[in-house]
Protein backbone atom coordinates (compact mmCIF):
# COMPACT_ATOMS: atom_id res chain seq x y z
CA UNK A 1 0.00 0.00 0.00
CA UNK A 2 1.63 3.26 -1.06
CA UNK A 3 -0.46 6.09 0.30
CA UNK A 4 0.65 9.53 1.36
CA UNK A 5 2.19 9.78 4.82
CA UNK A 6 -0.38 10.74 7.47
CA UNK A 7 0.09 13.18 10.32
CA UNK A 8 -1.99 12.04 13.28
CA UNK A 9 -2.59 13.92 16.52
CA UNK A 10 -2.90 11.77 19.65
CA UNK A 11 -3.96 12.97 23.11
CA UNK A 12 -3.60 11.41 26.60
CA UNK A 13 0.13 10.75 26.94
CA UNK A 14 -0.28 10.53 30.73
CA UNK A 15 1.06 7.00 31.04
CA UNK A 16 0.97 6.92 34.84
CA UNK A 17 -0.05 4.03 37.12
CA UNK A 18 -3.59 4.76 35.88
CA UNK A 19 -2.55 5.36 32.31
CA UNK A 20 -4.21 7.36 29.59
CA UNK A 21 -4.47 5.52 26.26
CA UNK A 22 -2.35 7.93 24.17
CA UNK A 23 0.96 6.10 24.46
CA UNK A 24 -0.69 2.80 23.44
CA UNK A 25 -2.43 4.46 20.48
CA UNK A 26 0.82 6.11 19.32
CA UNK A 27 2.77 2.84 19.72
CA UNK A 28 0.19 0.98 17.67
CA UNK A 29 0.39 3.57 14.86
CA UNK A 30 4.18 3.55 14.96
CA UNK A 31 4.27 -0.26 14.79
CA UNK A 32 2.05 -0.63 11.74
CA UNK A 33 4.19 -1.44 8.68
CA UNK A 34 2.03 0.80 6.45
CA UNK A 35 2.23 3.84 8.73
CA UNK A 36 4.88 6.16 7.32
CA UNK A 37 3.70 9.48 8.72
CA UNK A 38 4.20 11.66 11.78
CA UNK A 39 2.67 11.34 15.21
CA UNK A 40 1.88 14.57 17.02
CA UNK A 41 1.43 14.20 20.77
CA UNK A 42 -1.11 16.59 22.30
CA UNK A 43 -0.53 16.79 26.05
CA UNK A 44 -2.13 18.63 28.93
CA UNK A 45 0.88 18.51 31.23
CA UNK A 46 4.60 18.96 30.68
CA UNK A 47 5.26 15.94 32.91
CA UNK A 48 3.13 13.50 30.91
CA UNK A 49 5.48 10.50 30.61
CA UNK A 50 4.65 9.91 26.94
CA UNK A 51 6.34 13.23 26.06
CA UNK A 52 9.67 11.75 27.08
CA UNK A 53 9.26 8.41 25.33
CA UNK A 54 11.81 8.76 22.56
CA UNK A 55 10.78 7.27 19.20
CA UNK A 56 7.07 7.58 20.02
CA UNK A 57 5.93 11.04 18.89
CA UNK A 58 7.68 13.26 16.33
CA UNK A 59 6.20 16.49 17.66
CA UNK A 60 4.66 17.33 21.02
CA UNK A 61 2.45 20.23 21.98
CA UNK A 62 0.80 21.32 25.20
CA UNK A 63 -2.91 21.92 24.68
CA UNK A 64 -5.32 23.68 27.09
CA UNK A 65 -7.43 21.64 29.52
CA UNK A 66 -11.09 21.20 28.52
CA UNK A 67 -12.04 23.46 31.44
CA UNK A 68 -10.34 26.37 29.64
CA UNK A 69 -13.06 26.34 27.03
CA UNK A 70 -13.57 25.60 23.37
CA UNK A 71 -12.08 28.86 22.11
CA UNK A 72 -8.73 28.17 23.76
CA UNK A 73 -8.63 24.63 22.29
CA UNK A 74 -9.63 25.94 18.84
CA UNK A 75 -6.87 28.57 18.84
CA UNK A 76 -4.27 26.03 19.89
CA UNK A 77 -5.30 23.45 17.29
CA UNK A 78 -5.25 26.10 14.56
CA UNK A 79 -1.74 27.10 15.64
CA UNK A 80 -0.48 23.50 15.76
CA UNK A 81 -2.09 22.72 12.39
CA UNK A 82 -0.25 25.66 10.78
CA UNK A 83 3.02 24.09 11.95
CA UNK A 84 2.50 20.37 11.31
CA UNK A 85 -0.56 20.07 9.00
CA UNK A 86 -2.61 17.52 10.91
CA UNK A 87 -4.57 14.98 8.86
CA UNK A 88 -6.54 13.65 11.83
CA UNK A 89 -6.78 13.68 15.61
CA UNK A 90 -7.54 10.67 17.82
CA UNK A 91 -8.80 12.06 21.16
CA UNK A 92 -8.36 9.62 24.05
CA UNK A 93 -9.68 11.41 27.15
CA UNK A 94 -13.34 11.17 28.22
CA UNK A 95 -13.47 14.80 29.38
CA UNK A 96 -12.16 16.21 26.09
CA UNK A 97 -14.57 14.28 23.84
CA UNK A 98 -17.47 16.80 23.99
CA UNK A 99 -15.05 19.53 22.83
CA UNK A 100 -13.67 17.49 19.94
CA UNK A 101 -17.17 16.35 18.94
CA UNK A 102 -18.26 20.00 18.75
CA UNK A 103 -15.16 21.01 16.79
CA UNK A 104 -15.81 18.13 14.37
CA UNK A 105 -19.40 19.20 13.61
CA UNK A 106 -20.17 20.25 10.03
CA UNK A 107 -18.92 23.78 9.55
CA UNK A 108 -16.73 23.51 12.64
CA UNK A 109 -13.04 24.22 13.02
CA UNK A 110 -11.80 20.74 12.16
CA UNK A 111 -13.80 20.63 8.94
CA UNK A 112 -12.51 24.08 8.04
CA UNK A 113 -8.92 22.96 8.58
CA UNK A 114 -9.44 19.58 6.94
CA UNK A 115 -8.59 17.63 10.11
CA UNK A 116 -10.45 14.32 10.34
CA UNK A 117 -11.82 12.54 13.40
CA UNK A 118 -13.79 9.34 13.88
CA UNK A 119 -16.03 10.04 16.86
CA UNK A 120 -19.53 9.25 18.15
CA UNK A 121 -22.20 11.94 18.32
CA UNK A 122 -22.85 13.87 21.54
CA UNK A 123 -26.14 11.97 21.87
CA UNK A 124 -24.33 8.63 21.76
CA UNK A 125 -21.76 9.90 24.21
CA UNK A 126 -24.55 10.59 26.70
CA UNK A 127 -26.28 7.27 26.01
CA UNK A 128 -23.27 5.35 27.36
CA UNK A 129 -22.91 7.48 30.50
CA UNK A 130 -23.04 5.54 33.76
CA UNK A 131 -26.40 7.09 34.62
CA UNK A 132 -27.90 5.61 31.43
CA UNK A 133 -26.49 2.11 31.83
CA UNK A 134 -29.81 0.29 32.27
CA UNK A 135 -31.33 2.09 29.28
CA UNK A 136 -28.27 1.15 27.23
CA UNK A 137 -28.63 -2.46 28.38
CA UNK A 138 -32.28 -2.53 27.27
CA UNK A 139 -31.46 -0.95 23.91
CA UNK A 140 -28.64 -3.40 23.20
CA UNK A 141 -30.22 -6.43 24.93
CA UNK A 142 -27.14 -6.86 27.10
CA UNK A 143 -27.68 -7.68 30.79
CA UNK A 144 -26.68 -4.97 33.28
CA UNK A 145 -26.33 -5.01 37.06
CA UNK A 146 -29.25 -3.39 38.90
CA UNK A 147 -28.55 0.34 38.95
CA UNK A 148 -30.17 3.39 40.53
CA UNK A 149 -29.40 7.01 39.83
CA UNK A 150 -29.17 9.11 43.00
CA UNK A 151 -29.74 12.85 42.94
CA UNK A 152 -30.28 13.42 46.65
CA UNK A 153 -28.86 11.97 49.82
CA UNK A 154 -32.43 10.94 50.73
CA UNK A 155 -32.33 8.45 47.84
CA UNK A 156 -29.80 6.44 49.83
CA UNK A 157 -32.47 5.40 52.30
CA UNK A 158 -34.35 3.57 49.56
CA UNK A 159 -31.35 1.32 48.92
CA UNK A 160 -30.64 -1.96 50.67
CA UNK A 161 -33.90 -3.60 49.62
CA UNK A 162 -34.25 -6.97 47.89
CA UNK A 163 -33.58 -5.46 44.47
CA UNK A 164 -30.41 -3.67 45.46
CA UNK A 165 -29.04 -5.16 48.69
CA UNK A 166 -25.82 -4.23 50.45
CA UNK A 167 -22.96 -4.46 49.71
CA UNK A 168 -23.36 -2.24 46.65
CA UNK A 169 -21.19 0.12 44.63
CA UNK A 170 -21.45 3.87 44.90
CA UNK A 171 -20.06 5.34 41.68
CA UNK A 172 -19.16 8.83 40.51
CA UNK A 173 -20.84 9.98 37.33
CA UNK A 174 -17.48 10.10 35.50
CA UNK A 175 -15.06 8.03 37.53
CA UNK A 176 -14.53 6.20 40.81
CA UNK A 177 -16.36 3.43 42.62
CA UNK A 178 -16.52 2.61 46.33
CA UNK A 179 -18.10 -0.45 47.89
CA UNK A 180 -20.67 0.38 50.60
CA UNK A 181 -21.69 -2.26 53.14
CA UNK A 182 -24.26 -0.13 54.95
CA UNK A 183 -26.22 3.08 54.57
CA UNK A 184 -23.61 4.88 56.70
CA UNK A 185 -20.83 3.90 54.32
CA UNK A 186 -23.05 4.73 51.36
CA UNK A 187 -23.58 8.27 52.75
CA UNK A 188 -19.83 8.73 53.14
CA UNK A 189 -19.11 7.59 49.58
CA UNK A 190 -22.06 9.58 48.19
CA UNK A 191 -20.70 12.86 49.56
CA UNK A 192 -17.16 12.04 48.39
CA UNK A 193 -18.43 11.37 44.83
CA UNK A 194 -20.55 14.53 44.77
CA UNK A 195 -17.57 16.59 45.96
CA UNK A 196 -15.30 15.16 43.27
CA UNK A 197 -17.57 14.59 40.28
CA UNK A 198 -20.88 16.29 41.04
CA UNK A 199 -24.35 14.83 40.62
CA UNK A 200 -25.76 12.36 39.88
CA UNK A 201 -24.25 9.51 41.86
CA UNK A 202 -24.89 5.92 40.80
CA UNK A 203 -25.70 2.99 43.09
CA UNK A 204 -25.01 -0.35 41.46
CA UNK A 205 -25.45 -3.95 42.58
CA UNK A 206 -22.25 -5.73 43.49
CA UNK A 207 -21.79 -8.65 41.12
CA UNK A 208 -18.85 -10.99 41.41
CA UNK A 209 -17.22 -12.76 38.52
CA UNK A 210 -14.51 -12.52 35.87
CA UNK A 211 -13.69 -9.11 34.43
CA UNK A 212 -13.56 -9.07 30.65
CA UNK A 213 -13.08 -6.03 28.43
CA UNK A 214 -13.47 -5.60 24.68
CA UNK A 215 -11.67 -2.97 22.64
CA UNK A 216 -13.75 -2.36 19.55
CA UNK A 217 -14.43 0.09 16.75
CA UNK A 218 -17.84 0.80 15.24
CA UNK A 219 -18.27 2.13 11.72
CA UNK A 220 -21.11 4.52 12.60
CA UNK A 221 -23.59 2.62 10.44
CA UNK A 222 -24.24 -0.31 12.72
CA UNK A 223 -21.24 -2.35 11.63
CA UNK A 224 -18.10 -3.41 13.44
CA UNK A 225 -14.62 -2.58 12.14
CA UNK A 226 -12.94 -4.85 14.66
CA UNK A 227 -13.04 -6.16 18.22
CA UNK A 228 -10.57 -7.86 20.54
CA UNK A 229 -11.79 -9.28 23.87
CA UNK A 230 -9.35 -9.45 26.76
CA UNK A 231 -9.50 -11.10 30.16
CA UNK A 232 -7.68 -9.19 32.90
CA UNK A 233 -5.15 -11.46 34.55
CA UNK A 234 -3.38 -9.00 36.86
CA UNK A 235 -5.05 -5.95 38.44
CA UNK A 236 -3.61 -2.86 40.07
CA UNK A 237 -4.98 -1.62 43.38
CA UNK A 238 -7.23 0.68 41.32
CA UNK A 239 -8.67 -2.32 39.51
CA UNK A 240 -6.89 -1.47 36.26
CA UNK A 241 -5.47 -4.23 34.07
CA UNK A 242 -1.72 -4.63 34.49
CA UNK A 243 -1.76 -7.81 32.44
CA UNK A 244 -4.32 -9.50 30.25
CA UNK A 245 -4.84 -12.09 27.54
CA UNK A 246 -6.99 -12.16 24.41
CA UNK A 247 -9.78 -14.72 24.57
CA UNK A 248 -11.92 -16.39 21.94
CA UNK A 249 -15.39 -16.68 23.44
CA UNK A 250 -17.74 -15.99 20.48
CA UNK A 251 -20.38 -14.65 22.89
CA UNK A 252 -18.18 -11.61 23.47
CA UNK A 253 -17.96 -10.68 19.80
CA UNK A 254 -21.72 -11.14 19.60
CA UNK A 255 -22.15 -8.63 22.45
CA UNK A 256 -19.91 -6.12 20.64
CA UNK A 257 -21.86 -6.60 17.40
CA UNK A 258 -25.15 -6.13 19.24
CA UNK A 259 -23.85 -2.91 20.78
CA UNK A 260 -22.84 -1.48 17.40
CA UNK A 261 -26.04 -2.60 15.66
CA UNK A 262 -28.26 -1.05 18.34
CA UNK A 263 -26.35 2.22 18.73
CA UNK A 264 -24.63 2.75 15.34
CA UNK A 265 -21.60 3.73 17.37
CA UNK A 266 -18.88 5.55 15.45
CA UNK A 267 -15.31 5.27 16.64
CA UNK A 268 -13.38 3.32 19.25
CA UNK A 269 -14.77 2.16 22.56
CA UNK A 270 -14.08 -0.18 25.45
CA UNK A 271 -16.92 -2.46 26.53
CA UNK A 272 -16.44 -3.52 30.15
CA UNK A 273 -18.16 -6.75 31.16
CA UNK A 274 -18.34 -9.02 34.12
CA UNK A 275 -19.08 -12.72 33.59
CA UNK A 276 -21.13 -13.71 36.63
CA UNK A 277 -21.34 -17.12 38.29
CA UNK A 278 -24.24 -18.14 36.03
CA UNK A 279 -22.08 -17.38 32.99
CA UNK A 280 -24.07 -14.24 32.07
CA UNK A 281 -22.06 -11.30 30.73
CA UNK A 282 -23.17 -8.18 32.59
CA UNK A 283 -22.40 -4.82 31.00
CA UNK A 284 -20.63 -2.60 33.52
CA UNK A 285 -19.68 0.35 31.36
CA UNK A 286 -18.84 1.50 27.85
CA UNK A 287 -15.91 3.89 27.63
CA UNK A 288 -16.18 6.14 24.56
CA UNK A 289 -12.52 5.89 23.52
CA UNK A 290 -9.63 3.47 23.28
CA UNK A 291 -8.59 1.80 26.54
CA UNK A 292 -4.99 2.11 27.76
CA UNK A 293 -4.41 -1.54 26.82
CA UNK A 294 -5.40 -1.06 23.14
CA UNK A 295 -1.85 -1.85 21.96
CA UNK A 296 -2.90 -5.47 22.56
CA UNK A 297 -5.14 -5.15 19.49
CA UNK A 298 -2.02 -4.48 17.41
CA UNK A 299 -0.21 -7.38 19.08
CA UNK A 300 -3.12 -9.71 18.36
CA UNK A 301 -3.32 -8.71 14.69
CA UNK A 302 -6.08 -6.10 14.44
CA UNK A 303 -4.26 -2.77 15.11
CA UNK A 304 -7.46 -0.85 15.81
CA UNK A 305 -5.71 2.53 16.41
CA UNK A 306 -4.32 2.35 12.87
CA UNK A 307 -7.81 1.46 11.60
CA UNK A 308 -9.24 4.54 13.35
CA UNK A 309 -6.46 6.77 11.97
CA UNK A 310 -7.37 5.62 8.45
CA UNK A 311 -11.10 6.03 9.04
CA UNK A 312 -10.52 9.53 10.41
CA UNK A 313 -8.60 10.37 7.24
CA UNK A 314 -11.43 9.03 5.08
CA UNK A 315 -9.34 6.13 3.78
CA UNK A 316 -10.88 2.74 2.93
CA UNK A 317 -10.68 0.49 5.98
CA UNK A 318 -12.12 -3.01 5.65
CA UNK A 319 -13.37 -4.74 8.83
CA UNK A 320 -10.85 -6.82 10.77
CA UNK A 321 -12.14 -10.33 11.42
CA UNK A 322 -9.36 -12.38 12.97
CA UNK A 323 -7.09 -11.93 15.94
CA UNK A 324 -4.71 -14.24 17.73
CA UNK A 325 -6.34 -15.78 20.80
CA UNK A 326 -3.90 -16.17 23.70
CA UNK A 327 -1.92 -12.99 22.98
CA UNK A 328 -0.85 -11.46 26.29
CA UNK A 329 0.19 -8.04 27.46
CA UNK A 330 2.13 -7.40 30.64
CA UNK A 331 2.85 -3.80 31.62
CA UNK A 332 6.22 -2.63 32.80
CA UNK A 333 7.14 0.43 34.83
CA UNK A 334 10.43 1.84 33.60
CA UNK A 335 12.37 4.99 34.38
CA UNK A 336 12.85 7.11 31.28
CA UNK A 337 15.83 9.40 31.15
CA UNK A 338 15.02 12.92 29.98
CA UNK A 339 17.14 16.00 29.41
CA UNK A 340 16.75 19.56 30.59
CA UNK A 341 16.51 20.58 26.92
CA UNK A 342 13.36 18.50 26.58
CA UNK A 343 11.79 19.80 29.78
CA UNK A 344 12.71 23.38 28.91
CA UNK A 345 11.22 23.15 25.42
CA UNK A 346 7.91 21.67 26.50
CA UNK A 347 7.63 23.91 29.57
CA UNK A 348 8.57 27.26 28.07
CA UNK A 349 7.61 26.96 24.40
CA UNK A 350 4.83 24.42 24.97
CA UNK A 351 6.25 22.25 22.21
CA UNK A 352 8.99 19.76 21.59
CA UNK A 353 10.24 18.30 18.33
CA UNK A 354 12.31 15.15 17.97
CA UNK A 355 15.03 14.50 17.18
CA UNK A 356 16.24 16.91 19.82
CA UNK A 357 18.88 14.88 21.57
CA UNK A 358 17.66 11.35 21.04
CA UNK A 359 20.70 9.84 22.70
CA UNK A 360 20.14 9.28 26.37
CA UNK A 361 22.57 11.32 28.52
CA UNK A 362 24.68 8.68 30.22
CA UNK A 363 28.22 10.05 29.94
CA UNK A 364 30.18 10.35 33.14
CA UNK A 365 30.16 14.00 34.33
Amino acid sequence: MSERPLTIGVTALNATDNPGPGVAVARALRDHPDFKGRIVGLSYDAMDPGIYARDLCDDLYIIPYPSQGLAALSDRIRQIHEEVALDAIIPNVDAELPSFIRLAEPGGLLEELGIGTFLPSQELLELRSKAQLEALGERTEIATPKTRVLTSVDDLYELGDDELPYPLWIKGVYYGAKLARSVDEARLHYHAMVAQWGLPVIAQASVSGEEIDIVAVGDGEGGMIGAVPMKKTVLTDKGKAWAGITIGDPALLEIARRFFTATRWRGPCEIELLKDKEGVHQLLEVNPRFPAWCYLSAGAGQNLPYAVARLACGLPTPPRRDYTVGTMFVRIAIDQIATLDQLQAITTAGELHYPLSREEPHDEP
Binding site: I212, K231, I245, P250, A251, G326
Partner: protein
Protein backbone atom coordinates in the same frame (compact mmCIF):
# COMPACT_ATOMS: atom_id res chain seq x y z
CA UNK B 1 -24.91 -17.50 24.34
CA UNK B 2 -22.94 -20.22 26.15
CA UNK B 3 -20.30 -22.35 24.48
CA UNK B 4 -21.01 -26.09 24.84
CA UNK B 5 -18.43 -27.94 26.98
CA UNK B 6 -17.59 -30.31 24.11
CA UNK B 7 -16.49 -27.36 21.99
CA UNK B 8 -14.45 -25.90 24.82
CA UNK B 9 -12.64 -29.20 25.39
CA UNK B 10 -11.88 -29.49 21.69
CA UNK B 11 -10.59 -25.90 21.52
CA UNK B 12 -8.18 -26.26 24.44
CA UNK B 13 -4.58 -25.51 23.48
CA UNK B 14 -2.54 -28.29 25.10
CA UNK B 15 1.23 -28.41 24.87
CA UNK B 16 3.37 -31.55 25.22
CA UNK B 17 4.63 -30.22 28.54
CA UNK B 18 1.10 -30.17 29.99
CA UNK B 19 0.52 -26.41 29.75
CA UNK B 20 -3.16 -25.85 28.92
CA UNK B 21 -4.84 -22.66 27.67
CA UNK B 22 -8.62 -22.31 27.52
CA UNK B 23 -9.26 -19.75 24.76
CA UNK B 24 -12.85 -19.10 25.89
CA UNK B 25 -12.05 -18.10 29.46
CA UNK B 26 -8.40 -17.11 29.13
CA UNK B 27 -7.54 -19.52 31.96
CA UNK B 28 -4.23 -21.34 31.94
CA UNK B 29 -3.30 -24.37 33.97
CA UNK B 30 -0.80 -27.20 33.99
CA UNK B 31 -1.49 -30.91 34.13
CA UNK B 32 0.82 -33.82 34.85
CA UNK B 33 1.37 -36.65 32.34
CA UNK B 34 -1.66 -38.61 33.53
CA UNK B 35 -3.83 -35.47 33.29
CA UNK B 36 -2.56 -34.99 29.77
CA UNK B 37 -3.60 -38.54 28.86
CA UNK B 38 -7.05 -37.98 30.36
CA UNK B 39 -7.61 -34.72 28.47
CA UNK B 40 -6.55 -36.24 25.17
CA UNK B 41 -8.80 -39.25 25.80
CA UNK B 42 -11.77 -37.03 26.62
CA UNK B 43 -11.24 -35.14 23.39
CA UNK B 44 -11.53 -38.49 21.59
CA UNK B 45 -14.81 -38.93 23.53
CA UNK B 46 -13.47 -41.92 25.54
CA UNK B 47 -15.70 -42.94 28.46
CA UNK B 48 -14.61 -43.39 32.09
CA UNK B 49 -13.79 -47.10 31.77
CA UNK B 50 -11.75 -46.56 28.64
CA UNK B 51 -9.78 -43.81 30.37
CA UNK B 52 -9.12 -46.10 33.35
CA UNK B 53 -7.83 -48.80 31.01
CA UNK B 54 -5.59 -46.28 29.31
CA UNK B 55 -4.14 -45.10 32.63
CA UNK B 56 -3.53 -48.74 33.72
CA UNK B 57 -1.73 -49.39 30.50
CA UNK B 58 0.37 -46.19 30.36
CA UNK B 59 1.32 -45.75 33.99
CA UNK B 60 1.06 -49.25 35.47
CA UNK B 61 -1.20 -48.07 38.29
CA UNK B 62 -4.26 -49.90 39.68
CA UNK B 63 -6.85 -49.87 42.39
CA UNK B 64 -9.30 -47.50 44.02
CA UNK B 65 -6.79 -44.65 44.26
CA UNK B 66 -6.67 -44.40 40.50
CA UNK B 67 -10.46 -44.27 40.18
CA UNK B 68 -10.67 -41.64 42.90
CA UNK B 69 -7.96 -39.52 41.28
CA UNK B 70 -9.71 -39.75 37.92
CA UNK B 71 -13.04 -38.74 39.43
CA UNK B 72 -11.44 -35.78 41.19
CA UNK B 73 -9.87 -34.66 37.94
CA UNK B 74 -13.18 -35.01 36.08
CA UNK B 75 -14.88 -33.04 38.85
CA UNK B 76 -12.36 -30.22 38.34
CA UNK B 77 -12.99 -30.19 34.60
CA UNK B 78 -16.76 -30.04 35.21
CA UNK B 79 -16.25 -27.20 37.67
CA UNK B 80 -14.44 -25.21 34.98
CA UNK B 81 -17.14 -25.99 32.41
CA UNK B 82 -14.83 -28.07 30.25
CA UNK B 83 -16.96 -31.22 30.32
CA UNK B 84 -20.68 -31.68 30.75
CA UNK B 85 -22.13 -33.30 33.89
CA UNK B 86 -22.33 -36.70 32.20
CA UNK B 87 -19.26 -36.03 30.02
CA UNK B 88 -17.04 -38.94 30.99
CA UNK B 89 -19.52 -41.44 32.34
Amino acid sequence: MTTPPDDRLRELAISDTGFVFDPYSGATFTVNPSGLVILEALRRRADRDAILDLLHERFDVHGEDLERDLDEFLHLLRHHGLIAEEGAS
